[in-house]
Amino acid sequence: MAARDSSSKPLLDSGVLSRLSRMPLQAGAPMLGPVTGMHRSATRGASVEFAEYRKYVPGDDIKHIDWQVYARSDRFYIKEFEADTNLRAYLVLDCSGSMAFDSGHGPRFDYARTLAAHLAYMLVKQGDAVGLHLCGEDTDTDLPARQAPSHLQNIFHELEAVRPRGESTLIPALHALAERVQRRAQILVLSDALMPADELLDAVQHLCFCRHEVTFFQLIDPQELQFDFTRPIRFVDLEGGADLVADPSVVHASYLQALDQHMTTLRSGLRKYHVDHRLAPVDEHFEQLLTAFLLGHAGRAVKGRGGARR
């Protein structure tokens, strides 16, 4: 399944996909889905995995009565099993102008696009439904979550065609997504988070309130973190704002302070809402990010099975 981006670099890396094929992307929270899938379901159903006991009530299927428990306790108890279902995931890609930033490690948007493509592929391959929402001034692409392979092609096509520009519309998009997606889903947000932290956290909170599982991939460039300029620079806003002439030696300390404050706010806020916050430096290969993400989710899924509550 070939997918290429506009720079003629393929969207998908077969080597990465091959290495990550044994690591499924598992939902951390129980999902609600119409189809039997690999993810935990919020409901109890037919499965090979025991979940818990409950008292027999008239009408229960007696084949689920645990006779050994009856022998011991002279009481009737029904075995409950985990119900596996498929995952519905939505990829939300920030297509604002700031995503086009490139300090020499390649445009940040290409990184996001590649990451999104691999996530979509893995999800579809494991039978999950994937939707795509592109947030940008000029774009409002909203592909519903589907699990058909042909749908994957639609996703790749949209990823290749979109260009980052203009101001960010991520926050209203997240709010709208929270309202539109009725059933619990996994929301994978890919953005540079260069927007007011409070407003972004509000949107994330909205999603979490609607019981969606949110993973926030924050794509960041090392130069934005270091701000290692020496001479006065004319900074041109990628999102079309006013230019600014600044002397780095004068603003360096204050810039880092403002950046640190933003990161701290964002980090603590996302942690509060139990959002999986992934920092993605664009100077590193996305495979590391994906591997850590998949492993992290596998761990959370195991924990969830061990103590899941209805």
């Binding site: 973190l225 806003d237 600014l244 920092l279």
Partner: protein, 640 residues
């Protein structure tokens, strides 16, 4: 304030160079497309006020540094209070006062001497503390300690004189005085019009001020400069050219009249001669007019003298010429030699001529009538000989012929070092050098070298060939070889004859028998008697005129070398006085009164510049407190 080098004031706008460079750098910034503008705007808005102030302080420090540097180059001078503030206390002030004829030149009705006197008075009045004031004037060279409150104008040492000034000599006397008294801090004030002739003698400087460098830390030189020599119009000066000569019943005197105009005019010349007072109108053309004045004389007399004077003008000190004519005195050389060959060589070198040069022997007693003594080395100088030298006699010691040594071979040695410009071995009046380079020395008995003996020439092997020892007003020369075949090639005459003639002339230089002499070229001894024939109070050290001395009439004139109006620039003065620093008090006011002392601010400005440099360096290295790094480490691909 004034500036001695005002040209640099035009460069003051360069002090804005750091600001211009700063602005140009801002214009040349590169453009970067940036995503995290929200942080940048916050940072720019909240950019540490301290950091911005620091940037402006650095710029200001750089601008001020350039400004004071340019002001220092312009040699800014302050006046009044600041000058007084910068004048440091001194134990002693030595005033070197120029009272040479040129200082009588008036400008605005006030002579340079009067201006200098006012400058000294002002400086003494405005100075701090109560230093001892030592006065050394240019005419007599005598040192006089002035009590506090002395009225300088009434001091004889401040009155005009016609003797030339020699600042080099005066400064050396002042330094000797300070060194002898071991003053902790002293100032030397040189009150002069910067006439170049006073600073640079005809024969050039002979003192190396580096020899006095150890006094530099405690001696301050201050030049009380009376400004440009811009005389009042109408000044004339009269110069005597050469010696007068007799032709029959007339005395011919070559004269030159210099003036500041070129149109023809009739100038009255007053002549006092033979008891007569005459006047002759000279029709003068051009700025410099030469003519031969014919003076009537009594043919029955041998000695004739006259005083010629122009009318008084803006400088009355250069209007008079004294003339005296007498039969040329015979120069006498005495030989105290045993070797006949050497005697013949001396005779051949002196070329005795009746009426001009005579050669005698031991039978003539050493007196003022003997001018040169040629003697054998190794024989001790008796008391009479020493006393004779001290009176001005010149002795030449030659090795004894019997003391021949092994020699330097057939080729002999050449002469390696000698002063080609001045002195006994220097070029003659026609600037023809003495051909010492052609001499070959085959045998030599080198004279001793010790302190007080000057080596005038050395052989190729470094041994002295000719030495000179000053003895009072006279000198003792010692030659290492003889003008004989086998000893040297001196007998060829091209060096031997000039040496002997010059020695004879030197020995006779203190004998005022030739008629006319120049003030300031000799030192009058306390026991000498001089009877002025013109003004009763005339002083042979100070005044042009006719005097009776040792039964002869002597005419004393001022040095025409010092009539030249060329001035030495203050920058040349600094080079002249190095390693000493020269502070210039300059008087530029038209009115000599009400003048203020000024002092150069170069040192202060340099200090300010260093302070600004230190401030700029400190601000550049100031450790600006930086915001803490982003606290959470960047976990690669992991959760934040």
């Amino acid at each position: 304030m004034t500036a001695l080098s005002p040209l640099f004031l035009w460069l003051l706008p360069l002090a804005l160079l750091p600001v211009i460079i700063h602005l140009l750098n801002r214009l040349r910034y590169r453009t970067v497309k940036w995503a995290a503008m929200m942080f940048l705007r916050t940072a720019d808005r909240d950019a540490s006020r301290r950091a911005k102030i620091r940037q402006w302080l650095i710029l200001a420090a750089r601008c001020l540094m350039l400004l004071v540097f340019l002001l220092a180059l312009a040699r800014l001078q302050s006046r009044g209070g600041l000058a007084r503030f910068l004048n440091r206390d001194s134990e002693r002030i030595v005033v070197l006062f120029d009272r040479s004829p040129g200082m009588e030149q008036t400008r605005g009705g006030v002579s340079s001497r009067e201006r200098a006197l006012l400058l000294v008075q002002q400086g003494l009045r405005e100075g701090r503390g109560s230093p001892q004031v030592l006065w050394i004037d240019s005419a007599t060279g005598e040192r006089t300690v002035l009590p506090a409150g002395t009225d300088l104008e009434s001091l004889p040492q401040t009155r005009p004189a016609q003797a030339p000034a020699n600042v080099e000599d005066l400064l050396r006397r002042a330094l000797e005085e300070i060194a002898r008294e071991d003053d902790a801090g002293a100032e030397i004030w040189i009150a002069t019009d910067r006439r170049a002739a006073s600073w640079i003698p005809e024969g050039g400087l002979s003192t190396d001020w580096q020899d006095w460098a150890d006094l530099r830390a405690r001696v301050t030189l201050r030049l009380l400069d009376v400004g440009q020599i811009d005389p009042d119009p109408g000044n004339r000066s009269l110069q005597l050219l050469g010696d007068p000569r007799r032709e029959g019943d007339s005395l011919l005197v070559d004269l030159r009249l210099n003036r500041d105009r070129s149109d023809p005019e009739s100038v009255p010349l007053q002549i006092e001669t033979g008891g007569l007072s005459l006047r002759e109108d000279i029709l003068v053309e051009g700025r410099s007019f030469q003519w031969t004045q014919v003076l009537p004389i009594d043919p029955n007399r041998e000695v004739h003298h006259a005083l010629l004077a122009l009318p008084a003008d803006s400088n009355p000190m250069d209007n008079t010429v004294a003339v005296a004519f007498a039969p040329r005195a015979v120069r006498v050389a005495r030989m105290d030699l045993n070797d006949s060959a050497t005697q013949r060589a001396v005779r051949a070198g002196l070329l005795p001529r009746s009426g001009e040069r005579e050669l005698t022997d031991r039978r003539t007693p050493l007196s003022s009538a003997v001018h040169l003594l040629v003697r054998e080395a190794g024989t001790p100088s008796g008391e009479a000989e020493t006393a004779w030298m001290e009176q001005g006699g010149v002795a030449l010691s030659l090795p004894q012929a019997a003391n021949a040594s092994a020699g330097f071979g057939d080729e002999g040695l050449g002469v390696a070092e000698w002063n080609e410009a001045t002195g006994l071995l220097g070029a003659d009046r026609a600037r023809e050098p003495l051909r010492m380079d052609l001499l070959r020395i085959f045998q030599a008995v080198p004279p001793e070298e010790r302190e007080g003996i000057e080596v005038l020439a050395r052989l190729e092997d470094g041994t002295p060939l000719l030495t000179r020892e000053a003895v009072g007003d006279g000198a003792h020369y010692r030659l290492a070889t003889l003008p004989l075949p086998g000893w040297s090639s001196l007998d060829a005459g091209f060096v031997w004859v000039p040496i002997l003639q010059r020695l004879l002339r030197e020995g006779g230089s203190t004998d005022f028998s030739q008629g006319t002499h120049t003030l300031g070229t000799w030192t009058m001894r306390a026991d000498e008697e001089w009877l002025p024939l013109d003004a009763e109070d005339a002083d042979p050290r100070l005044h042009v005129g006719r005097y009776e001395h040792r039964g002869r009439v002597v005419a004393l004139n001022r040095s025409t070398h010092h009539d030249a109006a060329a001035q030495i620039h203050p920058d040349e003065l600094r080079e002249w006085a190095a390693p000493f620093d020269v502070n210039v008090f300059e008087d530029r006011s038209a009115d000599a009164r009400g003048r203020e002392a000024r002092v150069e601010l170069t040192s202060l400005l340099a200090l300010l510049g260093l302070i600004f440099l230190a401030v700029e360096s400190y601000l550049l290295t100031l450790n600006i407190r930086r915001a803490p790094a982003v606290r959470s480490p960047l976990r690669r691909g992991g959760a934040a």
